[in-house]
Structures are given as structure tokens and as C-alpha cells.
């Protein structure tokens, strides 16, 4: 795989990770536009239920699991290499990367062959081909190796710089690594303990609620695994490229630590409508869920304050004058600004989803697909896409080709998402379910009322697709044909508050991991014990696809 990166680049590993991520994104985007058109009941050639659900499975896996994981691995390697000045065990990094590629290939083939149309949540008793689960396992093991390299690099640095605070971007990446390890423990229990033995026929039955519980143990922290690297970019890179300062180094560390603590013990907010889990435990998880709103509120303040500093340093004054002085011609900055705006809206939607009893108004409706395309599909994705415009010159020593197209791309994405996500939110409130090939329901009256907005969402899908193509063209064009320049340095923001102080308590990861594990035990031990000990029957597998 290293052939895709120029042999002389010191960033071969990072570039390879980004390349796989972007490839998965491209494939996922093709799936996406087909889906958006099919949902609007347009009479398009590829529209059949079989293709639709296969495509949704591929899109979910490629976007939510492959694109994100590989991109985050690339960012992690880069941040460790640049901020710590080293990558311990780089060859292990390659093994992890290659294993991830092999796993991705196996799972993708399983999906495209039509044997595994179980969607990216693979709820049993829907049963995929064993290779679907095995490929996903290899991808996760590859990412664990990445975790090992990240931790080893940090410890090696720590041995030399014992009393210094961890570089902030690395602090955030270590939080990401820890959240990922805590999350995938649940996934490993589900896939290795339940799904693989069952799909191979070694055991006949599986308990769907136990499997869902383990899945959402993984599924919610998964969203913070996506989000935190975007936050790291917002906190530690954006103030630098806008010419400002990071408003508060200490609070940023507090934010990352709170995410370590509260990302995982919250999964029941995805299972409010499930049987088999008592309402008391659902209420407990509601409390922990709302606690993680707090660090995002802090982030909103710190990041905007950092931008204000930048705007004022650039000569902006008055209450809002600084806004106009920000670098609105820089595609990375524009991407992140729009990403933040989307996240503000998506975050409020999230507070509604998590609202215990109100959840039944939106659960599994199109509202949910509107919600996560704002959060992971825009806040995270736009930050990552934008970061490519910043990364490319630095990693490859080539100037961006077509900077105007690069600048148009985030705006187009945002516009497409207003149409797609906006209409999905509204039709969801009207009752349109998500994950449906057609939502006409035999011409039912209620269903008629959401058809117009569904067509609008299809137009949004086309705009998003055009934006994806622009992104792929600029990135591919720059990589292949960009003008050679002296690669600028990868640099991070300087905080306003003094960071020469000794390593703060927020850097004591062992302590925070301990508390996080304790919270997971408190949130899950008893409900899982109850599930395991009550009289259960389990279900054989089905393949209705």
C-alpha cells in the first residue's frame, strides 16, 4: 500500500491512512446520492429494494466506520509525530493500517455480494455472512494497534519530558484513543461473544436485546471517537491558522477528560423504546447523557473566544467587527466555521433525542437521519475535509490546485445539508420512518404529506454529491499535479494561559481511565446481569435480503 505515497515523504503512513479514508468516502458518496434519489420515489434505473438496502449498508459502514476510522488514525499518527517529535513503533503502525485495509476489504466484499444487508448496526437476529463480522473485527484490531502506537509514543515522550504538560493536541488524541478502547470493549463482546459464533452456526440462538445493549455500549462513544479529533482541530489548529490564540489550555484539557468519563455509560438513550430494560436504568443513562452536553458548551465558548482573539488581532473591532476579519477565503477555516454552526444545531437536536420520554416522538424517524448528518455527516466530515486543504501542502509539499473550487466546496456541502437534513428533520416530526426504500405507504394520506420535502432532500443529496466531487477533484488534483512548494510546517496554537506549568492533574490519564471504568460498571453491570439471569430464549437467525 505504501506505493500510494511518495517514497521520500516522511508522512507515508499518514498519507496512506488519509487515502483509504478518502477512497471510502468517495464510494460512500456514490451510494449516498443513489439513496437520496431512490427515497424520493424517482424512477431511476438502480432503484430496487435490494439495491437500496445494500447501498444503505455500504454507505453506513464506509462513511461511519471506515472513512472516520482511517482518517482519525491518520490524524493521530500526524499529531504524535509532529507534537511529540516521534512515532514509537512505526512499523506497527503499518501493520495496523494493513490489517484495517484487509478487514475493510473483506467486509466491503461481503456487503457488495448481497449476503450481508444488515445495515451498519447489524442488529440480530438479522444474520450477515460470517465474513462481514470477521472483516469488521480485523478493522477494529487494526485500530487497536494504532491505539498501541499512540500510547507507546506518548509514554516514550513522557520518559524524557516527565514534568511537562502533554502537548494539547496529543492530550485530545489520547482521550480519543481511550474512548475508542472503552467503546470497542463492548463491540468486541458483542461480535466475538455473540455474533461470530452464531453466524458460524456454533450456537443456534442469540439474544437481540443483549446484543443491542452491547452494540450501544459501543455506539454512543463511537460518536465521540468521531467528534473529538474534530474538536482537536478546532482547539489546536484553527486558532493557529487564523492568527489567534487558544483561549484556555486548561479548560480544553478539562473538556477532554469529561469526554473520557461520560462518553460510554450512556448507551440506553438509543434503546428508550426497547423492551427488557427497566425505565429506571433508562433514566440513569439520561442523566449521564446530559452531563456530556457540558463539555460541548465549554467548547462553544472557548473556540469562539479563540476566534474573536484572532479577529481582533487582525484588526477587527466593535461587537461583531472581528467576525468579518476572519480568513473567509481559507477553505479550511470556512469548513470549520460551517461545521461549528451545524454542530450547534445538531447538538440541540441531540438534547431532544436524549430526552427520555420525548424520544418516542423521533426515534427511528427521518429526524434521526437529519440529526446525524448534521453531527457526524457535517460537523465531523466538513472538519476532516477542510483539514485536507491544510494537510496537503504540509504533507506533500504541493500547493492546492483550484483554491476557488476548494472554497466553494464547504459552502455547497452546507447548502446541500440544509436541504437534506432540514427536510429530514421536518418529515421525521411528521412521522416518516428512516431506512425506508420508499415512503409512500401505498398512497396513504399522512405519507403524501411528506413527499414534497423528501424530493427536496433528494435535491440536497445531489448538491452534497457535487460538493463531494469537488473535494475529490481538489484533493486528487493537488496530490498528483499540485505545484511543488516548500512544505509549510505543521504548527499548533499557542494558548493565552501559561502552559509551562507542571503537568496538571488533567494529564493523569490512568486516574481518569479508572473513574471511567467505574462509571461504566455502575451504568451497565446490573442491567447486563439482569439480562443474563432472567429466563431468556434467544432467537435463530434470519436473512430476509
Amino acid at each position: 500500500m505504501s506505493a500510494i505515497a511518495r517514497p521520500d515523504s516522511p508522512y507515508r503512513l499518514e498519507i496512506s491512512c488519509f487515502a483509504v479514508a478518502i477512497g471510502a468516502f468517495g464510494l460512500g458518496a456514490v451510494m449516498a446520492v443513489m439513496q437520496a434519489l431512490a427515497r424520493a420515489d424517482l424512477d431511476v434505473a438502480f432503484a430496487s429494494a435490494k439495491v437500496y438496502y445494500l447501498s444503505v449498508t455500504a454507505h453506513g459502514v464506509l462513511m461511519a466506520l471506515v472513512f472516520t476510522t482511517f482518517f482519525i488514525m491518520g490524524l493521530g499518527f500526524l499529531f504524535a509525530r509532529t507534537s511529540l517529535g516521534r512515532l514509537a513503533g512505526e512499523s506497527w503502525g503499518w501493520y495496523g493500517f494493513i490489517l484495517g485495509c484487509v478487514g475493510t476489504a473483506i467486509t466491503t466484499v461481503a456487503i457488495l455480494s448481497g449476503s450481508s444487508t444488515v445495515l451498519y448496526t447489524f442488529y440480530p437476529p438479522l444474520m450477515a455472512h460470517p465474513s462481514f463480522y470477521i472483516g469488521a473485527t480485523l478493522l477494529v484490531i487494526g485500530s487497536w494497534i494504532w491505539c498501541g502506537v499512540m500510547i507507546a509514543s506518548w509514554r516514550a515522550w513522557k520518559r524524557e519530558h516527565g514534568s511537562e504538560p502533554t502537548p494539547l493536541c496529543m492530550h485530545g488524541m489520547l482521550a480519543t484513543v481511550i474512548i475508542w478502547i472503552l467503546a470497542t470493549a463492548g463491540l468486541a463482546a458483542e461480535v466475538l461473544g455473540l455474533l461470530i459464533p452464531w453466524s458460524l452456526g456454533w450456537v443456534e440462538r442469540i439474544d437481540p436485546i443483549l446484543a443491542r445493549t452491547l452494540f450501544w455500549w459501543f455506539g454512543h462513544p463511537l460518536t465521540y471517537f468521531w467528534l473529538l479529533p474534530a474538536y482537536v482541530l478546532w482547539y489546536t489548529v484553527i486558532p493557529e491558522i487564523t492568527g489567534g490564540r487558544l483561549f484556555s489550555d486548561k479548560l480544553t484539557r478539562v473538556v477532554f477528560v469529561i469526554f473520557i468519563l461520560f462518553s460510554t455509560p450512556v448507551g440506553f438513550h438509543h434503546q428508550f423504546t426497547d423492551p427488557g430494560i427497566s425505565s429506571g436504568w433508562k433514566l440513569v443513562h439520561t442523566f449521564t447523557t446530559y452531563s456530556i452536553l457540558f463539555p460541548s458548551f465549554v467548547t462553544a465558548f472557548t473556540v469562539i473566544a479563540s476566534l474573536e482573539i484572532a479577529g481582533r488581532l487582525r484588526g477587527g473591532d466593535g461587537l461583531f467587527g472581528w467576525l468579518g476579519k476572519l480568513p473567509w477565503r481559507d477553505p479550511f477555516f470556512v469548513s470549520v466555521a460551517l461545521a461549528m454552526l451545524s454542530f450547534a444545531v445538531g447538538g440541540f437536536g441531540g438534547a431532544i433525542n436524549a430526552a427520555y420520554a420525548m424520544n418516542t416522538a423521533v426515534h427511528n424517524t427521518a429526524w434521526i437521519q437529519g440529526h446525524f448528518h448534521l453531527t457526524v455527516g457535517t460537523a465531523v466530515t466538513l472538519s476532516f475535509m477542510g483539514s485536507c486543504y491544510w494537510l496537503l501542502p504540509r504533507l506533500t509539499g504541493r500547493a492546492l490546485v483550484a483554491p476557488k473550487l476548494a472554497l466553494a466546496q464547504p459552502y455547497l456541502w452546507f447548502l446541500g445539508m440544509i436541504l437534506f437534513s432540514g427536510s429530514s428533520h421536518i418529515t421525521g416530526l411528521m412521522g416518516q420512518p428512516r431506512r425506508v426504500f420508499s415512503s409512500s405507504f401505498f398512497g396513504d394520506e399522512a405519507a403524501q404529506s411528506w413527499q414534497f420535502l423528501t424530493s427536496l432532500s433528494a435535491i440536497g443529496g445531489v448538491v452534497l454529491f457535487v460538493s463531494s466531487l469537488l473535494f475529490l477533484m481538489v484533493v486528487g488534483g493537488t496530490y498528483g499535479w499540485g505545484k511543488r512548494i516548500d512544505a509549510p510546517e505543521v504548527r499548533f496554537a499557542v494558548p493565552l494561559d501559561d502552559d509551562s506549568a507542571p503537568a496538571p492533574v488533567w494529564d493523569r490519564f490512568g486516574l481518569w481511565v479508572g473513574i471511567a471504568v467505574l462509571l461504566i460498571v455502575l451504568a451497565y453491570a446490573y442491567p447486563i446481569y439482569e439480562l443474563l439471569t432472567m429466563e431468556r430464549f434467544g432467537s435463530p437467525g434470519f436473512k430476509p435480503f
Binding site: F294, F297, F301, Y356, T360, N364, G431, D444, S539, F545
Partner: protein, 160 residues
């Protein structure tokens, strides 16, 4: 730890906001018993069709106008397909599935249930207004998932 004054104010606003969300939820849960459906009861999914309760999907109307709906969600139908009840409620739904997971969502209401094989889900609701409702499956269950529907008629209206 020194925190900037404006940021401190903002943190307090955030704390108060989160606190009031939670207070509203806890008050709703304790005072008005507003809970998500959370019934705990198991059943062998392979015997649903022969079990005494679910072998006959049905709507039972009591003298006081309340109703009990005993239903099965199965690839790719709901039984009973037509649910007719005389009054707004209370209506109790007891549902299970002999195959994969299905959703049971009454469009235009807050009724939203995950019908899971191996479990019985039960909830009791009172609907806000009479009329005809579309019921859809909102959990992917296979290639005809989008065609899995049923109907609820509340009150005296004449449906199909």
C-alpha cells in the same frame, strides 16, 4: 484553576440549562409517570404462533371503552392489520415478533415501540384525537420493510 469571568458566567448558564432539562424530565417521570415503554417480559420466539396469547392476534374492548391489543409483527405484516377501538383510551398494546426486530410506530402520535423477538413489549396510551392513523414499521427488517404497515381507527369513523 483561574477561569475568565465571561467563561464562568457561560458555564453557569450551561449548568442551569442542563439542570433544568433534567429537572423537567425527572418531574415528568415522577409526577406524571411519563416513561418510555420499558416492559420486561420474555417469550420463546419460536412458539409465538402456538402460544395461548399470541396465536390469536386480536383487539379486546372492555365495558369502560378501554382496549387491549394483542399483536404480532412479522415479516412483513402486522396482525391485526386493522385495529379498531371505540374511544381514545386507555389502549394497551402487547406485541411480539416471531422473527426479526420490527418497529411499531403510530404516525402522528408518541407511540413508538421496538417489537423484539424473545420479548413482549407492552405500553398503555391515551390518544389525543379520534380518527384514522397509519402504523409503520420503523426498524429495518428486510427487503419489504417499507411495505410493512397497519391501520388504527379510533372512534366511530368508517375505515376500509
Amino acid at each position: 484553576m483561574k477561569i475568565d469571568l465571561y467563561e464562568r458566567i457561560w458555564l453557569w448558564i450551561a449548568t442551569v440549562m442542563i439542570g433544568s432539562f433534567l429537572a423537567a424530565i425527572v418531574l415528568g417521570a415522577t409526577m406524571n409517570a411519563v416513561h418510555p415503554p420499558s416492559h420486561v417480559e420474555t417469550i420463546d420466539p419460536t412458539t409465538v404462533r402456538t402460544s395461548s396469547e399470541f396465536s390469536r392476534p386480536r383487539v379486546e374492548i372492555n365495558d369502560d371503552g378501554s382496549a387491549l391489543v394483542v399483536g404480532v409483527a412479522e415479516m412483513f405484516d402486522f396482525e391485526p392489520f386493522l385495529i379498531r377501538v371505540p374511544s381514545l383510551g386507555p389502549i394497551t398494546f402487547r406485541l411480539t415478533s416471531p422473527d426479526v426486530i420490527h418497529g411499531f410506530q403510530i404516525v402522528g402520535t408518541n407511540v413508538n415501540l421496538t417489537v423484539t423477538p424473545g420479548y413482549v413489549i407492552e405500553t398503555t396510551v391515551t390518544l389525543p384525537k379520534a380518527g384514522e392513523y397509519l402504523i409503520v414499521c420503523n426498524e429495518y427488517c428486510g427487503l419489504s420493510h417499507h411495505q410493512m404497515t397497519a391501520r388504527l381507527i379510533v372512534g366511530e369513523g368508517d375505515g376500509p
